[in-house]
């Protein structure tokens, strides 16, 4: 049972790899099967254009995981670098960077992402950009707070007294100690990104038709809730399983590394 979150995430990763290797034809339309129930070809039934829901779920998982991986990688890097610089140097650089993060924090992240996506226009690239622009702030605040504390540690001050460069201090003496809280933060952030990607696609600001996305599948599924509940249920349960698994994994990692006490 303890391994369930990891197993769910592994299942979705395997599914995404399968979808990448095997052509499941997620965009193939059969008008005769519009909203038809499950059969031996489509184990989860057909959508509002007669497409295989399972094939589209796997394809949509690929989009979700791509967005989550790319945005996490980019924002983690940017947020960590900015937070580390602010925490290490302090002074006007700290004040400037923190005022910028305050401005971003003043708006609800999702609302800001919607605004960016609306201005930039729909599409996967713009979706990535919108999420990147709003998701780096958490990492920057966390890194800066940790860096302020680490800067006063004796091993850092000893190394500085021995003439180590700022780069060496940050790279070798501070960053390794930041890894654990950042990974836990990243895990929670990833669950939020799955929801954010689905939300933007739900609003029509994410990937464009016919590319599958869980958000757009949810939007379409809700329209047919009365006549084809299997459509929205399959998508909703998939989304919930991935988000819940990532959150539980984050909890597990936090407990394992004892981040609060660290």
């Amino acid at each position: 049972m303890k391994q369930l979150p990891a197993l769910v995430i592994l299942f979705w990763l395997a599914a995404v790899m399968l979808a990448a290797v095997v052509d499941l034809q997620p965009d193939h339309i059969h008008l005769e099967y519009i909203l038809a129930a499950a059969d031996h070809h489509a184990w989860l039934g057909y959508d509002d254009l007669g497409r295989n829901i399972l094939a589209r779920l796997l394809s949509g998982a690929g989009v979700s995981l791509l967005v989550v991986s790319a945005v996490t990688l980019i924002t983690l890097s940017i947020g960590t670098v900015l937070g580390l610089l602010a925490g290490f140097y302090g002074g006007w650089l700290d004040r400037l960077l923190m005022r910028i993060t305050d401005i971003f924090l003043a708006f609800p992240g999702m609302l800001l992402a919607i605004a960016f996506a609306a201005v930039l226009g729909p599409g996967l690239n713009n979706l990535l950009l919108a999420l990147c622009m709003t998701s780096w702030v958490g990492y920057a605040r966390l890194t800066r707070a940790q860096a302020l504390s680490l800067r006063q540690r004796q091993h850092v001050q000893a190394s500085e007294a021995l003439g180590a460069s700022p780069w060496r201090l940050m790279r070798h003496h501070m960053l390794p100690l930041l890894a654990a809280p950042l990974v836990v933060e990243a895990t929670y952030s990833m669950a939020g990104l799955v929801i954010a990607e689905a939300s933007l696609s739900f609003l029509g600001l994410g990937v464009q038709a016919p590319q599958a996305s869980w958000g757009s599948m949810l939007r379409d599924g809700v329209r047919y809730l009365l006549v084809a509940p299997h459509y929205v249920l399959a998508t909703g349960i998939s989304l919930m399983s991935l988000v819940l698994a990532i959150n539980l994994l984050g909890d597990r990692l936090r407990d394992h590394w004892d981040v609060k006490r660290a």
Partner: protein, 474 residues
């Protein structure tokens, strides 16, 4: 004590007819209304000089007319002349005041229809004369604006929120839902906006609304047909859906490419499987039953092989990538996705751009598109062919959004030779004609005598009756 007791007494049964709308009306001033819901409500609140018969020929409504010269029309109000809902009697001066108020520059978004009126005046209380800058044989068909009381126009009354007309239904109030009342028997109507189609359907099933007309995915209509407390009626529609091309685009300027796209679409399959019942294939903007319709147009058959061959003859390298713009409306995106899949078979890679309505329509008007899809709704006169295809009608002067320039077609339109003009349009293919979507109404079994209209108007409310005994039995 009496107050407490009275509050516990069951309230009188609600006999009003509740109608669920996908979109509430915006403006109840007939001179200003440009959205479909407002136009449909205004038809109930006001009366116009003319109406249309089943073949869309103008017929006398408030007034009969005679053409005194090519540019001079005289209208006589028919007896008995109706009264406005505020009790005042309608006269020719009200007609004159209504049209004069529209002729001022910038006074009405519909003013372009009347820009050629040189003068309008009342000969006496029952006679109105119009003189025009140019001959216009279709002029009576334009006079479908609801007539307003002259004294209220002079007083600057706000008709957009407090309409006063002479139509079969009178305005009661508009705070939240719009409440109307039938003049003949006092039957009340409550028109409330319920945007979400699923919620609208659930409200109808639960009896919170009594009827809804149009604006539902076909699958939900099938669901409604299975509900024992409801009945669904449908009929053929006349609102034209089309796929438009930008003829200034180097690829789409080639007629073979446009023909290839027309042959790549399996319209019969879409009409049969993805549209509401009674939808039918379209050949031209005006349906065949219209007096200017053309039933002899040969449809472009679905033939992906022929489409590929035409593209190769046009010297196009496959796959041909084209951008297709549409709104974010779910049914529109759904149809775009079907077209995309069908065109893929013919070697066309259709890139869908789903844009919010304002951006989408602005792009279309400015010619920033390769392909798009839209509807023509409530079209009654063949002047639509001039508006949509004449060389002189490129936006902002008209709606020739594809920038079609064809001298032969211009001449046919100027000569009002509609069979030849529609044939020429069919050959030039500035639009791929798609379909006329069917019209339907779903209502509770206690309602009767709602008559469906091909253009989806709500005139059925004028005749609808409620059998309260049957309704409660539901």
């Amino acid at each position: 004590m009496a107050l407490v007791l009275s509050s516990c007494t069951p309230s009188a049964p609600d006999t009003a007819v509740h109608m669920g709308l996908a979109q509430a009306p915006v403006n109840l001033d007939p001179r200003m209304a440009t959205d479909a819901a407002s136009a449909r409500v205004n038809r109930l609140l006001y009366q116009a000089l003319v109406r249309f018969d089943a073949h869309a020929r103008p017929q006398p409504a408030l007034a009969d007319w005679q053409q005194l010269a090519a540019d001079h029309y005289r209208f006589h109000l028919l007896k008995p002349v109706p009264r406005f809902h505020d009790g005042s009697a309608m006269t020719a001066h009200d007609v004159v005041a209504t049209y004069q108020s529209m002729l001022k520059p910038g006074a009405s978004p519909l003013a372009a229809e009347f820009s050629h009126i040189r003068k309008v005046w009342a000969m006496d209380d029952d006679t109105i004369d119009f003189t025009l800058d140019a001959a216009d044989p279709e002029f009576p068909a334009r006079l479908i604006i609801g007539i307003l009381p002259a004294h209220l126009i002079a007083a600057g009354h706000d008709f957009s929120r407090q309409p006063v007309g002479s139509g079969p239904l009178a305005f009661v109030r508009w705070r939240g839902p719009l409440v109307l009342q039938r003049q003949s028997d006092g039957q009340r109507y409550v028109l409330e906006e319920v945007k979400d189609p699923t919620v609208r359907v659930l409200k109808l099933v639960r009896g919170e609304i009594d009827l809804l007309a149009g604006d539902l995915p076909p699958e939900l209509l099938v669901y409604l047909q299975t509900q024992p407390a409801l009945k669904v009626e449908h009929t053929q529609g006349a609102n034209f859906s089309y796929l438009g091309f930008n003829l200034q685009d180097p690829l789409l300027a080639n007629p073979k490419v446009r023909q290839a796209i027309a042959h790549a679409i399996d319209r019969p399959a879409i009409v049969r499987l993805a549209l509401v019942p009674d939808s039918r294939l379209a050949g031209a903007i005006l349906p065949p039953e219209h007096w200017a319709g053309n039933a002899s147009l040969t449809p472009y058959a679905h033939d992906p092989q022929l489409a590929r061959q035409l593209l190769q003859e046009a010297g196009v390298h496959l796959p041909l990538t084209l951008v297709y713009k549409t709104s974010t409306d779910a049914q529109r995106v759904r149809l775009a996705t079907i077209l995309q899949a069908q065109m893929r078979e013919a070697g066309i890679d259709l890139q869908i751009r789903s844009l919010d309505w304002g951006t989408f329509f602005d792009d279309i008007r400015q010619g920033h598109f390769q392909m798009y899809s839209l509807n023509w709704v409530g079209i009654r006169t063949p002047d639509i062919y001039r508006l949509a295809f004449h060389s002189a009608s490129v936006p902002p002067l008209g709606a020739n959004r594809g920038r079609l320039q064809d001298a032969e077609l211009d001449a046919l339109i100027d000569q009002r030779d509609w069979p030849a003009a529609t044939q020429r349009i069919h050959a030039l293919l500035p639009y791929v004609p798609l379909w006329y979507e069917g019209q339907f109404v779903a209502m509770r079994r206690g309602l009767y005598h709602y008559t469906l209209a091909a253009d989806g108007n709500w005139d059925g409310l004028i005749t609808v009756t409620r059998n309260s005994k049957n309704d409660h039995a539901d």
